[in-house]
């Protein structure tokens, strides 16, 4: 009985469990409107489309849980796709070297974000906002406004193809495998010393510093991880959807929505990376549901806005209620 109650509290608590309950609810709604959705191929297609956002959510989680924001990821995804198209220019042999360049670029952008935020003490909101302006401007300057060149077939593989002829499912897309790999790595990382210091520095910077945690270092690494996740997402999105100047636009807000929906608290210190990724999956599932209900796509932002406010308000209510109860008990028996 007690166990059922704790389970119910975990599901309704506005924390990690809630997002899974929400995801399940949306999946049930999807199953009602379109029973065919859960057959292998269409489920795989859905996961393939959701993979980039899930990967970005993992990267953004590291930054948010340590108490910062990364608003530059959308611009970085766009920049990476444009860089790939311009440098590869249809040559198959250049695929791997260019992917290396992209990784270095993602790493460099993350490092600059991290160092400006930690060493120069500029708030991450401003740092990454400035980075977003710099990236979009620089990329358009470099290409003269419209993206040029084209991607190679090998480059498009991870975003498009997969392991064919699997019984029942049909095809397991590479994107899904990459998503699972990134997710597993993120979960493992949060269990290491790095992960613990990261959460501690988001919860109480001074306490983490005084207990010997290298707050600035882990925060910088978090930005680098976010930059790398944007690179991987860029490869997948480029492969899946091709090159255009609009790639990545507004993605930073969608991914922050996803992470917050996963019960991760802005300002840091609370939330799990699994839940952040589940939040991304929930948003994609919701958009899939809208598609099936044939709602106009213009209504998506309104729904996204409503959901995020409701989710955060719900979580905030739950959170403020608990500490009040805690202080009441400590006041009751003064020692």
């Amino acid at each position: 009985m007690g166990r059922i109650r704790t389970a119910a509290a975990a599901l309704a608590g506005g924390g990690t469990g809630t997002v899974f309950a929400l995801l399940a609810a949306i999946f049930i709604a999807v199953a009602f409107t379109n029973p065919g959705f859960f057959e292998g191929p269409s489920l795989m297609a859905f996961l393939k489309q959701a993979a980039p956002l899930v990967i970005l959510a993992a990267g953004q989680y590291f930054v948010i849980v340590s108490g910062n924001f990364d608003l530059s990821v959308g611009a970085l995804v766009g920049a990476q796709v444009v860089i790939a198209a311009r440098l590869i220019d249809g040559e198959e042999s250049r695929t791997l070297p260019v992917m290396g360049v992209m990784l270095l670029f993602g790493l460099a952008v993350g490092l600059v974000n991290g160092l400006v935020t930690t060493a120069l003490k500029v708030q991450s909101f401003i740092t990454t906002l400035g980075m977003m302006l710099v990236l979009t401007g620089a990329i358009r300057l470099w290409t003269g406004g419209a993206p040029t060149g084209s991607l190679s077939e090998a480059f498009r593989g991870p975003g498009r193809r997969g392991i064919d002829d699997v019984p029942l499912i049909g095809q397991i897309p590479w994107a899904v495998l990459i998503m699972i790999g990134v997710g597993a790595a993120a979960i493992w990382l949060m269990r290491t010393r790095f992960g613990r210091v990261l959460v501690a520095s988001g919860d109480n910077e001074l306490a983490a510093e005084l207990s010997g945690g290298r707050v600035d270092t882990v925060r910088t690494v978090a930005f680098v991880l976010s930059g790398l996740s944007a690179t991987v997402a860029g490869v997948l999105i480029g492969g899946y959807a091709g090159v255009s100047a609009q790639v990545g636009q507004g993605m930073e807000f969608t991914v922050i929505t996803a992470v917050v929906l996963g019960g991760v608290v802005l300002g840091g210190g609370r939330g799990a990376v699994v839940a952040a990724m589940a939040g991304a999956l929930t948003i994609e599932a919701l958009f899939a549901l809208f598609n099936q209900m044939a709602l106009p796509s213009t209504i998506r932002p309104a729904a996204q806005g409503l959901i995020i406010i409701a989710a955060v308000a719900y979580a905030a209510k739950r959170r403020t209620r608990r500490p009040v109860a805690a202080t009441a008990t400590t006041n009751a028996n003064p020692s």
């Binding site: 003490k121 500029v122 302006l133 710099v134 979009t136 005084l210 802005l266 106009p296 403020t320």
Partner: protein, 335 residues
């Protein structure tokens, strides 16, 4: 305290003078004249729209809040004004009042979500902005309504080289300075931004102060919307929010020395911030610098400015004895 604040504001106006001087010299070397009537008109015209938004933004940022919905609110207000006026000169006042009322209501919604539901302002106002965007995109497929010629004068007429809209902006800025310096609510805003718990314990009604700041911010966005309607001659939503005016406004506020963490700064600094951005834009325009390079420079300038402010802030906090005390306490606490 007041001396310190004067210091920061003086620094910003010094920076403005520097930007004007360097810009003037750069344009002169290029063979132009930054201070020709046409360029001055261009410069001042640029100040009014960002100015309106930045004034309201200053109030909410002072309270340690944020408003990412101002661009959308302005778009909504311009739509309401244009459709209410519908080309009839007798309905100008009605249209303007309706626009301000709707914008104020949006601000009230933001304030209520932030202060009563306890939602992080970043998420709350982003959500409200997305809801407005969804509504506008679904309801209006293109421009709608018609603004009477008489009201279009608000967008175009000018006295000597100063546009009327800029004069209105400066008058509102003066009113804002008075409001922050001489009214109780104005002082409360600094208190709430400085430390909301201390403010509440000192008897400040923190929630209603936050509400006031958000409502005023919404109404300033409404004025910006009226200006947009007057300039376009019709209600045009996408034109208004695809330019990311909210980021410009935040940049101007931060450039003006108001701390993103609240509690310190003021409207005089914001006006200087708006002017700096306008001068830069005009200089880039006159020198025909690639528009994409503008974004890069702008991003870099904002980060640099905040880094410089952070350095000043840092040297100030370093003098506080509290960290030393905390350090020794931790030392003695060890076995």
């Amino acid at each position: 305290m007041s001396l310190r604040r004067l210091d920061t504001t003086a620094l910003i106006y010094l920076a403005l003078a520097g930007v004007v001087a360097i810009g003037g010299i750069a344009v002169a070397i290029d063979g132009g004249n930054l201070f020709s009537t046409a360029n001055l008109v261009d410069m001042f015209t640029r100040t009014s729209l960002t100015g309106f938004l930045a004034l309201g933004m200053t109030l909410v940022i002072l309270c340690r809040s944020l408003d990412l919905s101002v661009g959308y609110t302005a778009a909504l207000a311009s739509m309401v004004a244009a459709t209410t006026m519908d080309g009839d000169p007798n309905r100008i006042v009605l249209g303007a009042l309706a626009a301000l009322l709707v914008a104020g209501l949006v601000g009230a919604a933001n304030g209520a979500i932030v202060s009563f539901l306890g939602v992080n302002p970043f998420i709350a106002t982003l959500g409200v902005g997305l809801i407005i965007k969804g509504y506008l995109d679904t309801e209006y497929k293109g421009p709608a309504g018609l603004v009477p010629t008489a009201f279009q004068q608000f967008g175009y007429s000018r006295i000597a080289f100063v546009p009327v809209s800029t004069l209105v902006m400066l008058a509102l800025a003066a009113a804002g300075i008075w409001f922050l310096r001489s009214t109780r609510t104005g002082h409360h805003m600094y208190a709430v931004g400085g430390n909301i718990d201390v403010a509440r314990m000192s008897g400040v009604r923190t929630k209603s102060t936050l509400m006031t700041a958000h409502i005023l911010c919404g109404m300033f966005a409404g004025v910006a919307g009226l200006l947009l309607a007057a300039r376009f001659g019709t209600g045009s939503a996408t034109e208004a929010y695809s330019n990311l005016y909210e980021l410009d406004a935040i940049a101007a506020v931060v450039l003006g020395g108001t701390l993103l963490l609240g509690g310190r700064g003021g409207i005089a600094g914001t006006v200087a911030g708006v002017l700096i951005l306008a001068v830069l834009d005009t200089v880039f325009n006159v020198m025909q610098i690639n528009p994409f390079a503008k974004d890069v420079l702008r991003g870099a300038i904002i980060i640099t400015a905040v880094a410089i402010y952070a350095r000043r802030q840092l040297s100030r906090t370093a003098r506080r004895p509290r960290f030393a005390a905390a350090g020794t306490a931790a030392d003695t606490g060890r076995p």
